[in-house]
Amino acid sequence: MDCKHLSEIVFLFFDNELEEEARRSVLEHLDGCPGCAREMDHTRRFFILVRQRCVRQSAPDHLRLRILTSFPHRQRTA
């Protein structure tokens, strides 16, 4: 695996979309390539930003109630 190929599949690596063999050759390449290792670390930090610091909106209670009361099976037992 060369640096260019690694840069093309870096997201697949983080998304767990690589076969075991490809995953291993990424790790092998990183062992011997500080430049790519730095790039991987950068990408990892980017994912942490997006996945952990993005505020999730919970469905408001009145929406849950509105959905539940719209279900026909509930209307008949009410």
């Binding site: 840069s7 093309e8 997201f11 697949l12 998304d15 767990n16 979309e17 430049g35 730095r38 950068h42 930090r45 980017f46 994912f47 930003l49 997006v50 996945r51 610091r53 993005c54 505020v55 999730r56 909106q57 919970s58 469905a59 408001p60 929406l63 849950r64 509105r66 959905i67 539940l68 719209s70 279900f71 026909p72 099976h73 509930r74 008949r76 037992t77």
Partner: protein, 226 residues
């Protein structure tokens, strides 16, 4: 279709549906909120998604992925009801962001090492992440939300969006790169940041460059840098 004429069995299916589908209401709402960018539309979108899913629940193949099925219904509802009305946010800086993104891609392609971004990532705040995500063009925003917030696999996203896996991959690639460029853009103090801050936008390119004609909603298919 679940209809009253089917009587008792239908009642049971209704309760089953509710028990299996309602746990996804937060995930659906979060995605709906980020796609419509307001609570009222998000609520209507999720409500309509559940009504349609209830109505067509007999079309759902048992043992397959209910969460992905619900998201697919919501995606179709979103496209039908909201997509056409969606406007780029008026204050969007995306023309400028896309332009600087193109520059960084061509630098990467010529082997130039990028490094200032690495330190800059440290300066990104939650609000920069929110803002950058909210302003990402809709097609990219959708794949990023499905992959990074909901954790769907490429195959699941392809099923939800009804596009090939290759399209999912290229949209994710470009979407994430654009998202990162936008986060850094806001973290560097360009564009509007915190409410209360003095806006000090840099619009130098917008008046003279080709970027001025670009709409943030305009989605180009990603092509690999040569």
């Amino acid at each position: 279709m679940l209809s009253a004429s089917r009587g008792e069995g239908t009642q049971e299916i209704g309760w089953d549906f509710e028990a299996l589908a309602m746990p996804y209401v937060d995930a659906l709402y979060n995605t709906a909120y980020r796609m419509t960018r307001n609570a009222e539309d998000a609520e209507d979108l999720v409500q309509e998604t559940y009504l349609k899913a209830y109505r067509y629940y007999d079309k759902f193949e048992e043992g397959t992925n209910l969460k992905a099925w619900l998201f697919k219904i919501m995606k179709n509802t979103f496209i039908n009801n909201y997509r056409r009305q969606q406007q780029a946010p008026p204050q969007s800086d995306f023309a400028e962001i896309e332009e600087s993104f193109e520059t960084s891609v061509s630098k990467e392609a010529t082997g130039q090492i990028k490094s200032p971004e690495e330190e800059l990532l440290e300066t990104v705040l939650d609000e920069h992440v929110q803002r950058a995500l909210d302003e990402l063009p809709a097609d990219y925003r959708m794949v990023v939300l499905l992959a990074d917030l909901e954790g769907f696999s490429y195959k699941e996203i392809a099923e939800i969006l009804e596009v090939p896996v290759g399209t999912v991959m290229s949209r994710l690639y470009r979407g994430r790169r654009l998202l990162e460029a936008a986060m850094l853009h806001y973290a560097q103090g360009r564009g509007y940041l915190k409410s209360g801050d003095q806006p000090h936008k840099m619009r130098s390119r917008a008046s003279s460059g080709e970027a001025s004609g670009k709409q943030a909603s305009e989605v180009k298919e990603f092509s690999e840098p040569a």
